[in-house]
Symmetry: C2
Subunit: 641 residues, 2 copies
């Protein structure tokens, strides 16, 4: 690796940019915390959205009825807390205070990775100033959440995620006004509890149906859970490439992505300063960070895939684990024997990691070294509680290649590797496609459930068509919502720039919000308790023309407001009983309100009673003269003179 | 109605705007026409996209293999034809030359609508200069496509749409490389033929499972078909409201919407100059135009719903039918007896037409006059071949209200009205929701199939969540794709401005393309023959780094190109084997190509043979020493020194 002329400017600039851009609360929102009961050190953040009162105009009087605030799941970390003053050079405060001291962990006097040690000696620019000593499991100990779960221990992380998921404060409300969920026809049903308890979390982690990606070296993390019986999660990819973008931009992209709702972030950097970029990201991230270690390994051998070695890769895993990466994509399912199955594909191998390993395998005519060393990798994962994200290196890159033999051969292998990882009590999720048309999604989910025993599925989209570059956040949000409904636990976002270039800030926002939409659509379908509360609150605000509440309750308050204000910027329009879409005379909601005036409503109630008694009958075939207010005169001349 | 100071400026400006903005071909595209055989006057346009050659570099040589052009369905009308010089003041040329003379039609000496006659006498601004005499069926004749179909006649329109739908020029290609479609689990399957023949079209129209909205007064129309066994169609709504936008803007929006893929356009104008705006739109539209006549009727009574009368509404229907409106939304299913069912809804009645009629019904305590006069409406529809779009005035406006008693009571009524319309041989489609979460879509489709006997379903979205104003093109594209797969025949778009304001040009483009994505995703799932050809061609271009072809094949070539060029603007990047997303060293497609070099590919073929013989076995539980290139040495030290 070559470094540019050393300068402090870059680091300085980095802190500055981020301070300006994303560290601010959402409008009308406050950060609230709820403490654990099993673990008092646990302090779980939610966002509470304050709502305006409902105004009723009766005669000349206006009656104001207050509305309770709505509490929502919050991925934004301290950055959206008004009380928080960010300082990127110090990093975020420690959330998981229980990690140190911890009976099964030891602080290492120096990094175990030779690469890290050499880099530290080198010095150079962009060094993160507030480094900590790395932690590792004491010899013979297993510190994974899965190991704890299987030995019956409810960890602080488990209580944290239970409180975090469990948003049913308005339980009575929820019960009355929410639809029951329903599984996708023909697939095994979810087992979503009415209330998420720490014990439920423990059970799900123990049986491998959920993961809590939480490296012991990432104490800044606000723990979260990924599993089909929890809220559907969203991952955002960031990372520079050799062509463009700086360290500062990448850190800011992480903060930005979590602001809009990314539950985890993958740093896919492939250019210069991979190690240092990652350090800045991790120390400032409240969400789990995932990586694909083979990318950095390839940089270390100058981009020559054939020169990759297990020793080098192993050192890279340890390097990253000691920085605090929470999950690793490992393409151990790209077996040599599967490669011939890709020979006649429309688009070959489209996973970067997959193609790197394929190249290695073919150059050496040997089995993938990630596969042959998989047990050793498990041992490293267990020592730091890094979660596997078993990569789908042979995922389809086009509609034509969907559900082909290469893809499913790899999935079968991932199922076998899941069983191995679970023998080590290593948390595991499974990556999935890719490009898959709607009607082929079900087979993906069914096979994944079967061969991976419901280990969390983590899909890229899927994109349901190839024909819309520039709109692939939409082609894929469609697939993501449907496969989320089917049972996929985390959806990896796709931005509008997919296939065309590196996403910028606005692309990241578009991608994340599109995926929050998909995830929420999936949660409504799955029937996640409390999920519909936000829809109900927003629709009620809409019906009552509480425009400010409507903006504030939306996934992107800024955009909702600016779109409204594009045509009606005046402050008075924020309480107007119409918008520019239909204008004042054609606002159906306004008309609906007029229909609900006290007299009309009383009349409707009486009619409802009649209706129940007489039912509705068809005039045209057989006029029903008993029907309320329909008589023979209506048939010829219902209009007023 | 009050007119502003008369001036020619507005009309002048109108022609000018449109000339500048949208009348241009797509890049690398030419308009091609195919003539009918049953009806030689039929001339069906398609768009043909020219592709660059596939370049192979072998040794020092480059071999170029030409690629056949791809022919695609084209909604753009003459505006995307390089040979066409638009003149909005003259209108588009006549396509349906067979309408005049026609044995069953007569040209009227004057308009039948009293309102139209009065308006013509008034003069005033914005008069369309090139008016034609209106046509009407001769007394006793029925000129609907359905009537013709039922009497065994294959009309020119039927042959037109058969040729238009039938894009299987690359049949051999299609057969080999496309997935078979599959219906949504649990719903009645589609009956999509391998080839769309004029006779198949006739059968589908005869049994009411498809409609060809084609008013006899809209000769500029390029006929199209809406039905579950054809390509999924998209409607775009345009129209000014009292708050904003001009006539010129609306005409331009129509041209613009069809450019991006709108199959039909609804003019929902509610402000001034409704009649004249519509005239300009119709005379310049090659796609079917739909309206909601009750909007104009309400304008005529100064916005006082109670003052609406059947006579007034009837005159409005005739006024619009003689202008050439192709389909009318008629909210005849909003029965008085259904209204009590809306009393406890989260968001009341959200259809503008529905709320107007509800207000009328309640004010008079009488049955909806559209319902009581439905047979007379049918007679008008038959005289001009206007197609019914039976409005869903009680559609849900929030997730909570989805699939409620009010919605389904109305749907049942629409089913009964469909049977009545069909007795008059009047073509009929059924409008559907609205706000419906994913898992409740199936019930909508199942009930619609059952009670409306597969009359084409035409849904607004549906929006799968309420929480994302500003992104409702996405919340709804998700629902649209899924319900399209289920069997909905036309998807009414939703723009990003939905619920917030009147869409502008860019919103229309965003909305239309999002819905083209949804419709195409549905077509792939349904297995529409030839649909996947475009995906395959684009993915092949992608894999071969034919960037120009990739842009040109996409739904929005301009956006694809500009997104790519945002980071790599140089001309050389258009043939580069990477983009800024991953950079040159990490491009998986580039790596895939290297893997396919002649030697490697030969090796893969041999491996494929071995693989089929030995199968894949799991190393970790039981190392398979027969597996190709896996031996004991690999297990311990697979890396090179």
């Amino acid at each position: 690796m070559t470094n540019p002329t050393p300068t402090r400017d870059a680091a300085e600039q980095l802190a500055l940019d981020a301070l300006h851009l994303s560290a601010r609360p959402f409008p009308a929102s406050t950060k609230v915390h709820k403490a654990g009961t099993l673990h008092p050190a646990v302090r779980v953040p939610h966002r509470e959205i304050t709502l305006g009162p409902t105004l009723e105009h009766v005669g000349g009087l206006t009656r104001a009825t207050p509305n309770a605030p709505l509490r929502v799941y919050d991925t934004g970390g301290p950055y959206t807390d008004a009380a928080f003053v960010p300082d990127l050079r110090r990093g975020l405060p420690v959330v998981r205070s229980w990690l140190q001291p911890h009976p099964d962990l030891e602080a290492l006097p120096e990094h175990s990775s030779a690469y890290t040690r050499a880099l530290h000696e080198d010095g150079g620019p962009l060094v993160f100033p507030a480094a900590r000593a790395p932690l590792r499991a004491r010899p013979g100990r297993n510190v994974t959440q899965m190991h704890a779960a299987r030995t019956g221990v409810v960890t602080p992380e488990m209580e944290f995620v239970a409180i975090r998921e469990n948003l049913r404060q308005q339980a009575a409300f929820t019960d009355r006004h929410a639809h029951a969920g329903a599984g996708f026809p023909g697939l095994p049903q979810a087992s979503i509890p009415r209330e998420v308890t720490p014990e439920f979390v423990r059970q799900e982690v123990a049986r491998g149906r959920a993961v809590i990606p939480a490296s012991i070296n990432h104490p800044e993390l606000e723990p979260m859970i990924i599993g089909r019986n929890f809220r559907t999660k969203v991952n955002a990819n960031i990372g520079n490439s050799a062509v463009t973008s700086s360290v500062a931009e990448e850190v800011e992209k992480m903060v930005w992505a979590t602001r809009w709702g990314a539950d985890t972030v993958m740093d896919l950097s492939t250019g210069r300063h991979i190690h240092r970029t990652r350090e800045w990201i991790l120390r400032n991230s409240a969400v789990p960070i995932g990586t694909v270690p083979i990318y950095q390994a390839l940089e270390k051998v100058g981009g020559v895939a054939e020169d990759l070695t297990w020793a080098l890769y192993r050192d890279t895993l340890i390097e990253q684990a000691e920085q605090g990466v929470d999950y690793f994509t490992v393409h151990a399912g790209v077996r040599l024997a599967h490669l011939p199955l890709t020979a006649r594909r429309r688009t070959g191998i489209v996973s970067r990691g997959g193609s790197i390993l394929a190249k290695w395998c073919l150059a050496h005519h040997r089995e993938n070294f990630l596969y042959t060393h998989f047990e050793e990798i498990c041992e490293i994962m267990a020592a730091y509680d890094v979660t596997f994200s078993l990569g789908d290196g042979l995922r389809p890159g086009s509609v034509e290649d969907a559900n082909d033999a290469a893809q499913f051969a790899e999935l079968d292998t991932l199922g076998e590797l899941t069983a191995v990882a679970w023998r080590h009590d290593v948390q595991t999720m499974i990556e999935g496609p890719g490009h898959v048309p709607l009607h082929l999604l079900q087979e993906n989910m069914a096979r994944q459930f079967a061969v991976c025993q419901e280990a969390p599925f983590y899909t890229l989209g899927p994109l349901t068509t190839d024909v819309a570059p520039g709109y692939d956040h939409i082609t894929s949000a469609i697939g993501a919502a449907v496969i989320g409904w089917m049972g996929t636990a985390m959806l990896c976002y796709v931005t509008p720039k997919e296939h065309l270039g590196l996403p910028d800030r606005e692309d990241v926002r578009e991608g994340v919000v599109a995926y929050r939409v998909a995830a929420h659509a999936a949660d409504l379908a799955k029937g996640v308790p409390g999920a519909q509360d936000r829809d109900n609150a927003l629709s009620r605000a809409r019906f009552e023309f509480r425009w400010e509440d409507q903006f504030n309750l939306s996934l992107d308050p800024e955009r909702a407001r600016s779109f409204h204000d594009a045509t009606l910027p005046a402050e008075a329009a924020k309480t107007a009983h119409f918008c520019s879409m239909c204008g004042p005379h054609f606002c159906s909601m306004k008309l609906s309100h007029e229909l609900r005036g006290a007299d009309v409503l009383a009349g409707l109630e009486a009619k409802a009673q009649e209706f129940r008694e007489f039912g509705s009958a068809l005039y045209l075939n057989a006029p029903d003269l008993n029907a309320p207010d329909l008589n023979a005169a209506d048939l010829s001349a219902p209009e007023r003179p």
